[in-house]
Symmetry: C2
């Protein structure tokens, strides 16, 4: 059988993966969920036809969303994950023994169920006793909360479909309030390369800068996302992501990682000139 998954990264640019098995397909109230298998990437999950996670490179995304803030504030104890239905972000958080609470708010229970069934590589720690799963809209969940978390990780889809509200000014303001005085927010910040993603990158960054005092963007190589050049935003009330890096403390945790290290922590905030210019100049 010659069966291929294609994702159009632009109307005239496509990325294709030959499918060995179509393991799962379902339509939830929110989106189309599929899990496929390929010899290079292993199992991979798509939502509404867009690549979310592959067994081969999920470590890159999950390392970079989790360990960056934990190496800046190694005292983080209470964490909120918004989205992240595959469980990979929670898995990385559970490696920190001193974290006491991990609330995960995923709008789509079916994504979690499918991940538990087919993607144990990411979902394996969702049963950790510190993890509380809430199947509701992250936007509503965070509203009205005050000083409840040291870290919020927005592990969302793109700002179309169910992820849309997670890219609004109001949501970022609610996150600010829900965070402790030295709280950190990490947000999915899209990509600078293709025009359509660049637009969302700039919008997310502009809105967060209105709310948080310290806002920096960092980059990583994510080969299965459009262009392979992806960004997270680091927003904080007090900490600077590089000046406040606690290199020795983090290394003493003894957490073995495949992508993250305290060198690339610093290096990932060093952005190409064109990306810096796009983020600085709000008119572009």
């Amino acid at each position: 059988m010659n069966f291929w998954y294609y994702e159009n990264h632009q109307d005239t640019v496509t990325f294709g993966i030959k499918v060995d098995k179509h393991l799962y397909t379902n339509k939830s109230d929110f989106q189309q969920i599929d899990i496929f298998e390929n010899d290079v990437f292993g199992k991979f999950m798509t939502l509404d036809g867009l690549m979310m996670v592959t067994e081969k490179d999920e470590f890159i995304y999950h390392d970079m969303i989790t360990h960056i803030p934990l190496a800046v504030n190694p005292n983080i104890k209470r964490v909120l994950v918004i989205g992240g239905g595959d469980g990979g972000t929670v898995r990385e958080l559970t490696r920190y023994k001193h974290i006491t609470k991990i609330d995960m708010v995923e709008i789509d229970e079916l994504v979690v169920k499918a991940s538990i069934e087919h993607l144990p590589i990411t979902s394996c720690k969702l049963d950790d006793k510190r993890v509380n799963l809430y199947y509701q809209d992250g936007l509503e969940f965070v509203k009205g909360k005050e000083n409840e978390y040291d870290l919020i990780l927005v592990d969302s889809t793109d700002p179309i479909g169910p992820g849309e509200g997670l890219f609004t000014r109001e949501f970022y303001r609610d996150c600010y309030k829900a965070l402790s005085e030295d709280g950190i927010l990490i947000n999915q910040n899209e990509s600078p390369y293709y025009e359509s993603y660049r637009h969302e990158m700039k919008r997310a960054n502009e809105k967060i800068k209105e709310v948080f005092d310290i806002v920096n963007v960092y980059q990583f190589h994510m080969p299965t996302y459009p262009s392979g050049h992806w960004l997270f935003g680091f927003a904080s009330k007090t900490y600077h992501p590089i000046k406040d890096l606690k290199k020795d403390i983090w290394e003493n945790f003894g957490i073995k990682t495949k992508y993250y290290n305290t060198d690339i922590h610093v290096g990932s905030f060093m952005l190409p000139t064109y990306v810096k210019e796009l983020l600085e100049d709000e008119s572009k």
Copy 2:
């Protein structure tokens, strides 16, 4: 017309670009040369069906091969470019007024002719009076030369076809001899992500380490190359790429760049853990 260019990054992974125009096609003594046009990438050239250069992102590759060594040794005067038939590397070199000689050795004259005709964005400085074009095998050209260059840039295709000899121990030794006492070699170092490219990455690195005292690998985001995660090698007789960075001198040149800056200079040498481990452990 629904006409697509596809490059298989692996047997079961493909990257496709819709072609508006097929501007050039020719078979030289060495390879199949094609130039296409697409609305996102502009004009792009392929050799034997593999992506070499696009108008949209050529600045990334050419910035990173050229400005890294020039910011470490801003006194570089005599440069040898091996390969680089599209002219983009030479274009960046000509921006340094103090460079006195640029020898470019390209095995395939047809690549240069096609680039001059269709890719002025990269080929526009091949007529600079400091540039000497040699249409011959770089491997032969460099043999027997002693202390003739301050910098050698290996801007080659992958180690299959005409680029193969440029990944050999003997070639790196000849480069070492052709370089001055404080000479620098930059080599195409492939990619860590897919198994096939990873193998070549390790081989190139191991061989260069046998020849040069200081060898470091640096990375950049090249969206049209397989996985988008690409590497160059920095090899030197005396200079360390970070400790010897001449930030102020380079910035005083006033060269405006779209990707390179002295921050990403440092950041690009900060590698993911799995890449470091692959490069350190020769058994993997």
